[in-house]
């Protein structure tokens, strides 16, 4: 089993208190960075091989290097809108290690010469917002934020901004639109945020975990960080493990670890008496993997080669009792609810697709509707400005492909054969009188 290699969560308890964080070496990396040329800091992040931990996995150093030099204003926006179902890692980082995020934000702000940084945190994370607010006040009092940071001549402004409940605002252009005070609808790219982002100024959008990794990269050096992990997936990653396992939670592992290490090693495996039916490897928008793929590496390339996506690092384990049609229905309903309505294939497809899954689940579907569902998915895929439509089409098509017999059985039998056993059934059926 792969040993946990902890960087972001390498401590007992928490480091909310700035003194505890400083004692562990915190804010030393900010001093180091302020003594370097801004471009050398970006180069160091590039050397580390760090890739965006939000979902897309784009190399962080390269993303920063796309910003035009010397144009002001320029902004850093922190994506703390963690909303992909299954994902709860950024929340734990902010709760237990908020100064790592703030230090990372300050280092990146300096490296890209940002006028201001905005931390866009999802509105539901109220306690996490309060933790960050207190941490930011502490950092201000200690001279890490504000005018002339640590005597360097660099001025750092960090604004905490709470969202108000919209999954789509985790998509970077929607996040910027929302931060501008509008309905959070995505924009077409190009122009990319690096050229025309917040208020049409050059903007870098980075995820919480990505930025919180940067103080450690500056501390250990780009090469040392790049020595952890695989050829193309460097460093550690915090995996959010949930669903039917013995010990769900966040586990920080090097990117050489496998699904088996995470689920069986750290998560304790399946609860007593249960067997595994399927795995969602990267959040609810990613296609399923099957139990015989447990030895797949958790790095971006291995999961892609296995037919899915590493996504946000959210691994959801599904046990043998689960009705896959009900699970598909929950996923479908979610994306239908969150579709912003800007692009027709997504707006219409998520609605009609969800209606079909609901009919299959409740037994009112006609013969042929399983194929119709695949057809709808195909008509959504790749036809929208942002990936939300794909986030509906990819998993739903994979549920049908892997469990076609279950879908067909619902149609043939006129309803769900698994009401008595499926843990999701109680959302759709009154299961109180059903014998288990």
């Amino acid at each position: 089993m792969s040993e946990p290699r902890k960087i972001l969560l390498d401590f007992e308890g928490d480091r909310r208190d700035i003194h505890a964080y400083e004692q562990a070496g915190g804010y030393a990396s900010l001093r180091t960075a302020l003594g370097m040329e801004a471009g050398d800091v970006v180069a160091m992040v590039d050397t580390s091989g760090l890739r965006g931990r939000g979902g897309a996995g784009f190399p962080t150093g390269r993303k920063a290097s796309f910003l035009p030099k010397g144009r002001t204003p320029a902004y850093l926006c922190v994506n703390a809108d963690e909303s992909e179902p299954g994902t709860f890692k950024d929340r734990e980082i902010m709760l237990r290690n908020p100064h790592a995020l703030i230090e990372g934000v300050l280092i990146m702000s300096y490296a890209m010469s940002a006028t201001s940084a905005f931390i866009y945190i999802r509105g539901e994370y109220r306690t996490e917002f309060e933790v960050l607010k207190r941490a930011l006040e502490e950092a201000h009092a200690r001279g890490y934020v504000g005018r002339n940071v640590l005597g360097s001549g660099y001025d750092a402004t960090v604004v905490l901004h709470r969202g108000a409940g919209a999954y789509i605002c985790g998509e970077e252009t929607a996040l910027l639109t929302s931060l501008e005070g509008e309905r959070g609808q995505p924009r077409s790219k190009p122009p990319f945020p690096a050229v025309a982002g917040l208020y049409a100024a050059p903007t870098l959008v980075n995820n919480v975990e990505t930025l919180a990794s940067i103080p450690y990269i500056v501390h250990m050096g780009g090469e040392a960080y790049a020595a952890i992990g695989t050829e193309r997936s460097k460093g550690t990653r915090v995996f959010s493990l949930s669903g039917n396992v013995k010990r769900p939670g966040n586990y920080e592992l090097p990117l050489t670890a496998t699904l088996r290490d995470l689920i069986e090693g750290h998560g304790g495996g399946m609860p007593e008496g249960r067997t595994m039916k399927a795995i969602i490897p990267g959040g609810s928008s990613t296609p399923l993997l099957m139990p015989d793929q447990l030895d797949t590496g958790l790095d971006y390339e291995s999961i892609a080669a296995a037919g899915s996506m590493a996504g946000s690092g959210a691994v959801v384990v599904i046990d043998d009792r689960t009705c896959m049609v009900q699970l598909a229905l929950r996923v479908a309903e979610f994306y239908r609810h969150e579709s912003c309505g800007k692009c027709t294939p997504c707006r219409e497809g998520t609605k009609w697709g969800t209606d079909i899954v609901r009919r299959i689940e409740d037994g009112s579907a006609r013969q042929g509707e399983v194929d119709l569902l695949l057809n709808v998915c195909d008509r959504i895929l790749g036809k929208n400005l942002c990936p939300l439509g794909d986030a509906f089409a990819m998993p739903i098509a994979s549920y049908v492909t892997h469990f076609r017999d279950e879908f067909q059985r619902h149609v043939d039998e006129g309803g769900c054969p698994f009401v008595a056993q499926s843990p999701i059934a109680s959302l759709y059926h009154d299961t109180s009188g059903v014998p288990a």
């Binding site: 963690e82 179902p85 709860f88 501008e180 005070g181 939670g249 609860p271 843990p423």
Partner: protein, 184 residues
């Protein structure tokens, strides 16, 4: 609760980080208009303060009434219609009056796999209302919500924007008793 789910919820209790005590609102005493203007001052463009302003107004009135929108519009300089069109996009803004306590049950996949449906049904039974409704005495609004980001520690229940995790059906009655026992 079945034994497998009980085992998962016990594991979640071990891995969930401790949640700190809530902070009191810093400037709750100031007039709404002043608080909105303070939010506007944080941003390069005043429009960015619209969502913070709507939140402040909702805190003041309990929901976004016509009067609340007028207040936001007056303080920010945008029209009430624009304020309303923005508010209607976001799930956390209430366009109708709500109960004194808002109980949100996450029913997304990770919570559903560990019995969120049973927790929700227990709330429905105890309160005598369907999800989406408010009790006749105006004390409780029950809602289902999409992923709240507590997937490994689910089922997630949020009461007045504070998370309670993991929240099996056995915790429903004690919670309601506690809330009913509070003054007011």
């Amino acid at each position: 609760m079945d034994p497998a789910t009980a085992e998962t919820l016990a594991g979640a209790l071990e891995t969930r980080p401790q949640m700190p005590a809530p902070l009191p609102p810093a400037d709750a005493g100031a007039p709404l208009r002043d608080r909105i203007l303070a939010a506007v001052a944080l941003y390069p463009e005043p429009r960015s303060a619209l969502i913070p302003a709507l939140r402040l107004a909702q805190q003041e009135y309990g929901w976004l009434s016509t009067e609340a929108f007028e207040q936001v519009a007056d303080a920010t300089g945008f029209t009430p219609a624009l304020c309303k069109s923005v508010a209607s996009f976001y799930d956390m803004f209430r366009l109708h009056p709500a109960g004194q306590h808002e109980i949100c049950v996450c029913t997304n996949i990770s919570c559903a796999l560990v019995g969120a449906g049973e927790t929700l049904r227990e709330f429905s039974r105890e309160l005598g209302i369907e999800p989406g409704a408010t009790t006749a005495d105006g004390r409780f609004t029950l809602r289902t919500v999409e992923c709240y980001g507590g997937c490994g520690w689910g089922p997630v229940v949020s009461v007045d924007e504070r998370y309670h995790e993991p929240f099996g059906p056995d915790r429903v009655k004690p919670l309601l008793d506690e809330l009913r026992g509070e003054a007011g």
